[in-house]
Amino acid sequence: MSETAQTAPPTDERVKEMSSFRKSLIRPELGGICGTILVFVFFFLTARDSGMFSPAGVMNWSVVSAQFTIIAVGACLLMIAGEFDLSVGSMIGFAGMSIALLSVSFGWPVWLAITITFVLCMAIGAFNGWLVVKTGLPSFIVTLAFLFILRGLTIFAAIATTRKTIIGGVRDVAEGDWLAPIFGGKIFTGFFQWMGDHGWIETFVRGSKAGQPVVEGIPMLIVWALGLVVFGHIVLTKTRFGNWIFAAGGDAQSARYTGVPVNRVKIIMFMFTAFCACVFATAQVMEFGSAGADRGVLKEFEAIISVVIGGALLTGGYGSVIGAALGALIFGVVQQGLFFAGVESSLFRVFLGVILLLAVILNTYIRRMITGEK
């Protein structure tokens, strides 16, 4: 599984030449690519005239997909390294609340609140990783504990300091801050205004925003998502550290024998997952201007689902960041697309479950057929 981590004499069969066609087929993201095409074709046929492919509609599912992507990149690298993090959702709630409490209730500058929150979250991530590595317990259990601990702490901190579970007013204190727009801002606004002026995209028809385009610009959330995908992909496929990640997840013991610092790799991956959760939370707080104690519920599973749709193995050692991003795209498009298609809301989860199951089954079959594994 972790052939990329091996170094062997040139005559070895592990480094034999493969045809480039076959090489392009056995990529883990192939299933994700097929799934993406399938999902888009499907919704194009069923929900074409519902506004799903209008600028506002595209922005809607793009933002949702970008959210999934951000946490999926972290979950993907961690899963390839052979571990899970179930505390991602609670970490999102915790990070958001930490920013809001520090900036609004304590009156600290927003950039400081964000920086401290990032440090805090990555420290918790490192502690998670350290516990897993030191105790040898499954990460499933350790992070499950933190799912509860962080959620409980978030609710407690909010109630104890402000008697409320939702803390608003972040938008006001973030006014003029230099770090906040990096998470909550929008870019290319001039370009979109220009397109709106020329009537190429719809504009608001009344109120104080009349004349402005319905889609103001590209939210930084999407920029972060793309940036993290590129970063994750390069680290995983082009660097020595990426090989270490595969090796740690494929067979930790053999990796140790060949000199891979498995423990360090795993702890860093836990920290990276926490970092991604923190990016998610910061962007959300900056966009909506408030933090709630229940933000991020179930997001850990959404991240894992995206990663699995994207072709990663739950057992570790195999997967791709591009695949995880495609999985997140599929998930986001399906989730919002079901609304556009007008599916009865109580059946929503049924459809979601069915589609996810189909995607994973399809993925597995395609991989088996192409790689010839049984």
């Binding site: 519902s50 509609g57 939702i166 938008r171 609304f339 589609i355």
Partner: protein, 317 residues
């Protein structure tokens, strides 16, 4: 390769068949209204809302849809409102349970030319601020305050507020209003019960045994009232302790009838769902609009005059 194609085709038909069916069922003369709530799937109280818009949709011959964030995450709800606006309905009926999160998407929808009515959560002032046509609901703090005054008149001095939806500010306002009506400090008298019936029951039992001097219990809806009834049944305080609740449901009505629950505050959710559809449809067709916000509640339901309530509890009441 053949097998792949076969698999793909199979997958497509499996998904498409039921989808096409559901998409086709709700149709009418043209107008389309979408109701967006903040409630998670598990909150049974919203069934009345669904029945209310369905009935209004039938009567007016308009298409209605109900949408909610499955896990109750308000940030997800903001996305649903943006999505609803992108699908170009004639009107959106939505709750406004967190002004910070939802005001942006709602005022964007208004600016796109979509008529909006705020129902249930929020306040008349907030509705005006986002540019909504009107507010239909029950001001939460006032309702809690009225209930507190009533309980105070009945000699209550301390209470337990069973909050099953602590992340919603309006739930906390109900408890705060009740405490202020009683003239006591809320302090630790509100518990975060969670949504699971067994957990709620055991938390109530634990609180009451730790605080035996508690005069009264306030629950915030069927989700917390039903398990609380079971808890009181178990520790023998049923009928002895003063028990008031927000909202109605089958078990609550039984409780009122049996004398275990002193009163239920009915905010008449049916009206909150039914009236906005009627109002929006008539506004779109004839340009007529009532001149003020509509208070759908509070009304106290006691053991007298329960027949109609009992008949329709959980469906339209």
């Amino acid at each position: 390769m053949n097998r792949i194609i076969k698999n793909l085709a199979l997958a497509a038909t499996v998904v498409a068949a039921p989808l096409a069916f559901t998409a086709g069922t709700a149709q009418a003369e043209g107008e389309k209204y979408i109701l967006v709530s903040h409630a998670p799937d598990s909150d049974s109280w919203w069934n009345t809302i669904k029945n209310g818009i369905a009935l209004a949709g039938d009567q007016m011959g308009v298409e209605v849809e109900y949408r909610n964030p499955p896990s109750g995450d308000l940030a997800d709800m903001a996305r649903i409102i943006q999505q609803a606006a992108a699908s170009k309905p004639n009107g959106i009926i939505t709750t406004l349970s967190d002004f910070d999160v939802l005001s942006g998407p709602i005022s964007d929808a208004v600016a796109q030319g979509i008529n909006v009515i705020i129902m249930n959560s929020g306040s008349p002032e907030q509705a005006r601020e986002v540019g909504a046509l009107m507010y239909v609901g029950q001001p939460e703090y006032d309702a809690g305050y009225a209930a507190g005054l009533r309980a105070s008149g009945d000699g209550v001095g301390s209470f337990l507020c069973v909050n099953h939806y602590i992340s919603s500010p309006s739930s906390t306002e109900r408890c705060q209003g009740f405490a202020d009506g009683l003239g006591v400090d809320l302090g630790n008298q509100m518990i975060d019960s969670g949504q699971d019936p067994a957990e709620i029951k055991n938390k109530v039992l634990a609180y009451l045994s730790a605080n035996p001097g508690t005069d009264a219990i306030l629950t915030l809806g069927p989700t917390s009232a039903d398990p609380t009834l079971a808890a009181l049944d178990e520790n023998g305080l049923a009928g002895d302790i003063y028990f008031g609740t927000f909202d109605l449901g089958t078990e609550i009505v039984k409780g009122i009838k049996a004398g275990i629950i002193n009163w239920g505050i009915d905010q008449q959710p049916f009206l909150q769902a039914y009236l906005p559809v009627i109002i929006l449809a008539n506004y779109d067709r004839y340009g007529v609009l009532p001149g003020n916000n509509i208070n759908s509640g509070p009304g106290f339901v006691t053991a007298e005059g329960l027949t109609l309530v009992e008949k329709w509890a959980g469906e339209y009441r």
